[in-house]
């Protein structure tokens, strides 16, 4: 290991940093947006809704993210219908494909988490809401979801770190995010330790920052005295 290589390695890795942050946040947001309807589907009493949703989470959770990314990026482009559709500009771009794949993947995991949070609420919460004459939407928004989200908040924070780690897979479809940029620099400089240590440190710091943010939110939304 040599110290003179740390600065050029840092400069090389730094170029991928913003892309890593962008992919992480966009995929996480997409995952969370999709997770809510999926979680409601998983906890639905109607089989016609529950079965397709649980099939989706089973398929996504049963296969590696890398395969899902390759199906979306390399596979879908093979279909003429997709190439002619308005979605093509999105599906042609490796960055958007990575966001889509990681987002769809994270949605399945987050949906199972949230469904767990909804299921563990006592049925009395639903009954009390109904007895008060609350409409289904109001019942969900005012009673069920705030409690469910509170209980799964630490797990959602964990999911954000997992999404950040998943964002490295974008480098497998030519995106030069932090890991991709690091790998390119290693090929040029033959300095794997310096480069990957710097990238690793940045990932650790990012993970710690995400952890802090979620700890802060947890404290903010905690019910006082409980």
């Amino acid at each position: 290991m040599s110290l003179d290589l740390f600065l050029p390695a840092f400069l090389a890795v730094k170029n991928g940093f913003l892309l890593t942050v962008a992919i992480t946040i966009a995929s996480f947001a997409l995952g969370q947006i999709l997770a809510l309807p999926l979680a409601l589907g998983l906890t639905s009493t109607r089989q016609a809704i529950r079965v397709p949703v649980s099939t989706y989470t089973f398929l996504i959770r049963g296969s590696p993210l890398l395969v899902q990314l390759f199906i979306i990026y390399y596979g879908l482009g093979q279909i003429e219908l997709v190439r002619n559709s308005f979605l093509w500009p999105v599906l042609r771009s490796p960055v958007y494909c990575a966001i889509l794949a990681i987002g769809l993947n994270s949605a399945a995991y987050a949906a199972e988490l949230l469904a767990g949070g909804i299921r563990q609420l006592p049925t009395g919460q639903w009954e009390a809401g109904r007895a008060l004459g609350l409409h289904r939407t109001a019942l969900l928004l005012k009673i069920i979801l705030p409690q469910a989200y509170r209980s799964v908040l630490p797990a959602i924070g964990n999911e954000l770190v997992l999404v950040m780690k998943g964002s490295t897979l974008a480098s497998a479809v030519t995106v030069l995010e932090m890991t991709g940029a690091a790998r390119v620099f290693v090929a040029r400089s033959y300095a794997p330790f310096e480069t990957f240590l710097i990238a690793g440190t940045i990932y650790l710091v990012m993970g710690a920052v995400f952890g802090r943010i979620f700890r802060f939110i947890e404290i903010k939304v905690a019910i006082p005295g409980r």
Binding site: L66, G75, K165, P192, Y203
Partner: protein, 223 residues
């Protein structure tokens, strides 16, 4: 579309075998490391405890792909330096090494949690019955700990299996890599990646069923 896949069936099945071999080897090695680290993380001195927890936190915060790259590219540089001539660390060794190191951290955490969940009274009961400490651990604590660790271990097995796909990025000829090769040669990526996904889902699905059946068979009153 799937005829192309059919022609590559032997290749894909070989790949699947390699995927299973890498995943099983990594899981077993990771488990053996964790089986040593977890008791040390609970009963060891403060320095040892902190060192193990530091290792767990470090690995859990690092992307798996980065660990694979570090071991694969770093390993070659390291071995070359030590030996004084060019030695390349192959993808199989690097893959198993990195997946084991990652799995060991998560498995340590699972086993540690399970060990802590065994009530302290179990120790006291065993010692008061005249068991010596090592024997009390093996006969009283360990079985209860493994029972509680089982769901977590099953989960981690699935994680290792899926992570093994990442080793394809450094060229290991497992299921994912074989699919990439087939997809490139036949220009049928969709068929190949869907087949690969189906094979992974088959293995994870069967694993899940076996684990559930095994858990159900274990002494019911302890669940």
């Amino acid at each position: 579309m799937f005829e192309a896949v059919y022609q590559y069936r032997d290749q894909l099945l070989h790949g699947l075998g390699m995927t299973l071999a890498v995943a099983i080897a990594s899981f077993v090695i990771g488990f053996l490391i964790a089986a040593v680290l977890a008791p040390l993380a609970v009963y060891g001195g403060p320095f040892l405890r902190r060192a193990i927890m530091g290792y767990v936190a470090l690995i859990r915060g690092l992307p798996e792909l980065l660990v694979i790259f570090l071991i694969f590219y770093g390993g070659t540089v390291f071995m070359t330096k030590i030996a004084g001539r060019y030695i390349e660390v192959n993808a199989l060794t690097a893959g198993i090494a990195s997946l084991s190191i990652v799995a060991a951290a998560y498995l340590t955490e699972i086993l540690r949690g399970a060990l802590l969940s065994v009530a302290h009274g179990q120790w006291e009961g065993a010692l008061s019955l005249g068991f010596r400490r090592p024997r009390a651990f093996l006969m009283i604590i360990l079985p209860q700990m493994m029972l509680r660790a089982l769901p977590g271990l099953g989960n981690q097995w699935l994680v290792v299996l899926k992570e093994s796909a990442l080793v394809s990025v450094v060229g290991l000829e497992e299921l994912m890599r074989k699919s990439v090769v087939g997809a490139g040669a036949t220009h049928q990526p969709l068929a190949f990646y869907l087949t690969a996904a189906a094979l992974y889902i088959m293995v994870t699905g069967v694993s899940t069923l076996l684990l559930k059946a095994y858990e159900a068979r274990l002494i019911p009153h302890m669940r």
